[in-house]
């Protein structure tokens, strides 16, 4: 039986991990370079990146990478991130992060918070990509639309940037053991039973089969 095969359960495959990191790093790079373009006082960022002009293009290129990774990620995770009935309950209990609770509904692969983060990235990612394109080609847009693009780009950056930090915290020190999922792809069985018990059941069944 695979039960005692190992203490570790493979939670992600290599493709998922690569896609995740491309998405994450391009997003992070966009955030940092974007902040460099937003705040004159942070001229250090464009300076490190080779000047403002280089920063603009690096921002655009990493934006394009982000867009492609986002598209891939969407098709990869959308199905697993579909909300279900229990998610509401999960959310109402704050996912157990904020107060003590013992009745958290068992999660399948991703909990409602993770799903929410995914959809947030999808929605605002699409928005930031589209508005980014709009800024890039603003001369072929009506000025009202172009102006909105500049504003919504900044707004999206605000949303994505904030969620990014939440994700970073919960993916690392907030939930010890989690970060492995995106490095080795393997988490402990206990971790799985805590964070994705229903998925683990299915996983085990599949292994038997």
């Amino acid at each position: 039986m695979s039960h005692h095969d190992a203490n570790m359960v493979k939670v992600t495959d290599a493709t998922e991990r690569i896609a995740h990191w491309i998405l994450a790093l391009s997003c992070l790079f966009c955030l940092i370079s974007g902040l460099g373009l937003m705040f004159h006082t942070w001229e250090i960022i464009p300076t490190i990146l080779g000047g403002y002009y280089a920063t603009k293009w690096l921002h655009i290129f990493s934006g394009v990478v982000f867009a492609m990774a986002l598209a891939y990620a969407y098709f990869m995770w959308a199905k697993e991130c579909r909300f279900e009935k229990d998610d509401l309950d999960w959310i109402l209990q704050g996912g157990g992060y904020l107060w003590e609770t013992e009745k958290l509904p068992p999660v399948y692969k991703y909990n409602a918070g993770q799903k929410a983060f995914f959809w947030c990235i999808v929605v605002f990612g699409i928005l930031i990509v589209l508005t980014g394109l709009g800024m890039w080609f603003s001369d072929s847009l009506p000025v009202v639309v172009a102006r909105l693009a500049f504003m919504l780009h900044a707004m999206s950056a605000f949303v994505i940037g904030s969620f990014f930090v939440v994700h970073l915290y919960l993916g690392t020190i907030g939930n010890p053991g989690t970060v492995q999922a995106m490095f080795t792809g393997k988490c402990t069985r206990a971790w799985c039973q805590t964070y994705c018990p229903r998925w683990l059941e299915d996983h085990d069944k599949n292994c038997v089969a």
Partner: protein
């Protein structure tokens, strides 16, 4: 003109549309000509371009009394005191000069086109070949040398004049009083007052491409006054909250750890 808050007055009622200013601008700023075609108007190039920083607009207009008028308006940067372009420029290429005008550090421009969309007057233009944005800088280097801008120097009729803000505004209002009718001063009552002021013979709404009530676009205000700080507040706030959570609640432990090995 050293260290003066300067204003250039464009008295359209004295303009003969000779376009000396249009050529002088190109000459002084070493801008190339475009091979244009006649598109049924004297106005050519048809619009401001990255290499055309000032343009005489020709407009055939019939007023409310049925009188035909041929309106000429020298279009170009208005040099706002509260300039949307300066506000949105990410690289500091656009800046306020000591004359109160909006200068351009061309080497700093990254061609992001934020200024192009933000400008309430639709002035800056982006050039694909150099990937930079261009607009009038009111001949900043000439002003430094105590010289009039090229357009003002070339104007044969006195339609273009330049001087310190108070004097020029006084003259503009005196001229409007003299003209009477719909004549008005355009430029001193919005965006903190522009450094290019029009004496218009007709109401502002009559002129093509001239906004009646120009103002900093709301999107720019939301962007720069709200989202920009909130990006920092958002990221910082969340990071702070996470830290507090870590300190207060601690990390979320995995429940069943008995079977767990190492």
């Amino acid at each position: 003109m050293k260290n003066m808050d300067i204003v250039k007055v464009i008295d359209v009622t004295k303009c003969t549309a000779c376009r000396g200013c249009q050529v002088a601008c190109k000459q002084w700023n070493e801008q190339q000509a475009t091979r244009t075609h006649n598109w049924g108007s004297y106005q050519n190039p048809p619009d401001l371009q990255s290499n055309t920083w000032t343009l005489i607009r020709f407009q055939e207009y019939v007023d409310k009394d049925g009188t035909f008028k041929w309106l000429f308006r020298k279009d170009g940067c208005m040099h706002c005191t509260d300039a949307a372009c300066v506000k949105v420029c990410p690289s500091g290429a656009l800046y306020y000069t000591e004359f109160g005008t909006v200068g351009v550090h061309r080497d700093r421009c990254i061609g992001c086109k934020a200024c192009v969309t933000a400008c309430p007057f639709g002035i800056p233009r982006h050039d694909v070949r150099t990937d930079k944005c261009y607009k009038c800088d009111l001949c900043y280097t000439r002003l430094l040398g105590d010289q009039k801008p090229a357009c003002v120097l070339s104007c044969p009729t006195g339609a273009l004049t330049i001087g310190d803000r108070a004097t020029m505004l006084k003259k503009a209002y005196a001229r409007v009083a003299e003209l009477g009718g719909d004549a008005n001063v355009y430029g001193d009552k919005f965006v903190g007052g522009t450094h290019v002021i029009y004496v218009l013979g007709e109401k502002p709404g009559v002129y093509d491409e001239l906004p009646e009530h120009p103002k900093m676009p709301a999107t720019v205000l939301w962007w720069k006054n709200f989202f920009k700080p909130f990006t920092l507040i958002g990221i910082g706030g969340v990071a702070g909250a996470a830290a507090l959570h870590y300190l207060i609640k601690g990390p979320h432990e995995v429940k069943e750890n008995k079977e767990g090995g190492e």
